[in-house]
Assembly symmetry: C2
Homo-oligomer: 159 residues x 2
């Protein structure tokens, strides 16, 4: 019922409120807004991962951690599993969601494509924050070819 | 598990990000920040109430609507029922939560009292927005005597 959509409504309104690329000219304002949303997602991802049961925190294999994000974290946040996970076995992972819940409300026409990044920034941060708590530094980016499908690319930073 | 706290984490981070009383001097900045959070809550409350089953929208007695907020809406958002509901039977209602989930993380010492309003503004808006969808214009304010307990006062505007 209502609680399953609460997060999505709150996310939508939060993006509206925090999206302020006009405060700085050109690409700077755009990047600053994305960065605010990513930072917020990062802190929520960290906090969520800290609440995971201890046995979860025991695995340390990269691939296991990524599988865990695709399954358990995605279900906890989006009530569905990620649809696909690919890797080059060298620290780069591509997580595919064929119908990403935060993109569904915005319609699927190509005219919406340029709006997509602001609805993906929080989740890039969320993945990065959860990985950070689980012991992995990463860079996470998102791309969209056809709405509402999207891909998150996770590159694990080797220390 | 994680999903039960997702809303609370997101709310906390959103408040941190949107709380910017320094942008305007004195009480103006404080009120502007509260107003932004209330507005955001209002829109989420409206959207949540629109998702309620049709039979829910059929009741039109004020007291039934308030009882519904205390029970169903509160459970959907905070996973608990409101602890008390009082009315003067003249359109004023006091909703009491003895341990309001969004105040719990901030500690219970009196030194935190002045921080409380920013953690209540979203929820004041949420109640007001849900009431609006259900056909009632209202003013909602919140007060705290002892953390983490709080009271929401709802005054229904007669048309």
């Amino acid at each position: 019922m209502a609680d399953t959509v609460l997060f999505e409504f709150l996310h939508t309104e939060m993006v509206k409120e925090l999206w302020a690329p006009h405060l700085e000219p050109g690409r700077v304002g755009w990047k600053m807004s994305l960065s605010v949303l990513e930072g917020l997602g990062f802190r929520v991802g960290q906090a969520l991962a800290e609440r995971l049961p201890q046995e979860t925190l025991a695995f340390r294999e990269e691939l296991d951690v990524l599988k865990f994000l695709c399954r358990d974290l995605w279900v906890a946040v989006f009530r569905k599993q990620m649809d696909g996970l690919r890797t080059n076995h060298q620290g780069t992972y591509v997580l595919q969601d064929h119908s990403f819940p935060l993109l569904v409300p915005m319609g699927s026409g190509p005219q919406y494509l340029e709006e997509a990044p602001k609805f993906l920034a929080f989740t890039c941060g969320l993945l990065c924050g959860a990985l950070s708590t689980l012991g992995f530094q990463s860079q996470v980016t998102a791309s969209v070819a056809t709405l509402p499908a999207c891909k998150f690319q996770v590159v694990i930073q080797k220390s």
